[in-house]
Symmetry: C2
Subunit: 182 residues, 2 copies
């Protein structure tokens, strides 16, 4: 399940859909619209814009100075618009492979022959997840929380819970395994 990755280009494209923007602007708009999302660095935006320009998705409109240093304004090209609508309509096919970090760690721990380490890891990881879930639950019940924060918390909670259920069964299996050993 890697269906959690958002390409920076598409993000920028989406933010440009409403009109011309310069890099600094895009960054602030991003932070405003996606407060709970993965942080986006300034440098990242400029680098992405340059790549997108090379690919013909955006155009540098103007270069002028308004109360401060020079700013370069960008707009979507027709091709960019097309790419955006395609992407927005495109269903994300959940990856045909499964990336489960916990399973990988446990498997590798067992491979090195250390069942104790595997079980220990699982127990501590479970504790960490439970703690994180308590945090999100607090966000949900906090009347100060914004709607988008509550929605993000909901999403996070259900995925943490999914992880947790996997860990419980794995733990049963691993401890069962070690107890069988003489």
């Amino acid at each position: 399940m890697n269906s959690g990755l958002v390409s920076t280009s598409h993000l920028v494209l989406g933010l440009l859909a409403r009109g011309e923007r310069h890099g600094y602007d895009l960054k602030r708009e991003h932070d405003l619209r996606f407060p709970s999302a993965r942080p986006l660095a300034y440098g990242q935006i400029y680098a992405t814009l340059e790549r997108m320009q090379r690919q013909g998705l955006v155009d540098a409109v103007s270069r002028e100075r308004v109360d401060g240093p020079d700013r370069t304004t960008f707009r979507m090209t027709r091709q960019g618009r097309k790419e955006l609508t395609t992407w927005l309509a495109e269903v994300e096919t959940p990856a045909p492979f499964v990336t489960n970090l916990f399973a990988t760690k446990v498997t590798l721990a067992l491979l090195t022959g250390d069942e104790g380490a595997a079980a220990d890891y699982l127990r501590r990881q479970r504790q960490a997840h439970l703690a994180r879930m308590r945090d999100y639950t607090r966000v949900k019940t906090d009347p100060e929380s914004s709607l988008s924060q509550v929605l993000a918390a909901d999403y996070a909670l259900s995925h943490l819970d999914a992880d947790l259920r996997w860990m419980e069964t794995a733990l049963d299996r691993v401890t069962g395994l070690t107890e069988e050993m003489p």
Copy 2:
């Protein structure tokens, strides 16, 4: 929730824990141990090994020819062993931010002012998820499936279900929104 990323170095380190290996070997062992995982390209392994060597995590042991082209055998250094055990014991702190691809798409679709597209996307994404879930359910009930496949399917299913629940509420919200419009 980006707790689904496995760094290639750690993976390689784990596979090297049982003894010396050369790149080609590592690739095959990976495919054997992690059949449901993200595919790992040969080139990726060699590149990773080189970086790890630079970082002092592995050593090139020997360079010899055995029934075929030259092969370079690698082994973990003491530092590599240490890094591995640290990593294996290290609890993954779920990211402090939430990456929700579906939410991002819907938000951007709404930003461009296209509620229809947003709702439409959600409906089709839901269908895709349901289809994928049927696939995994089939894997689970298939007596031919290996244990690791069943476990992977379990994990995938619960996460797909978590996504699905998020999409259902989002869909209610978006369609409610468009119906309010004149």
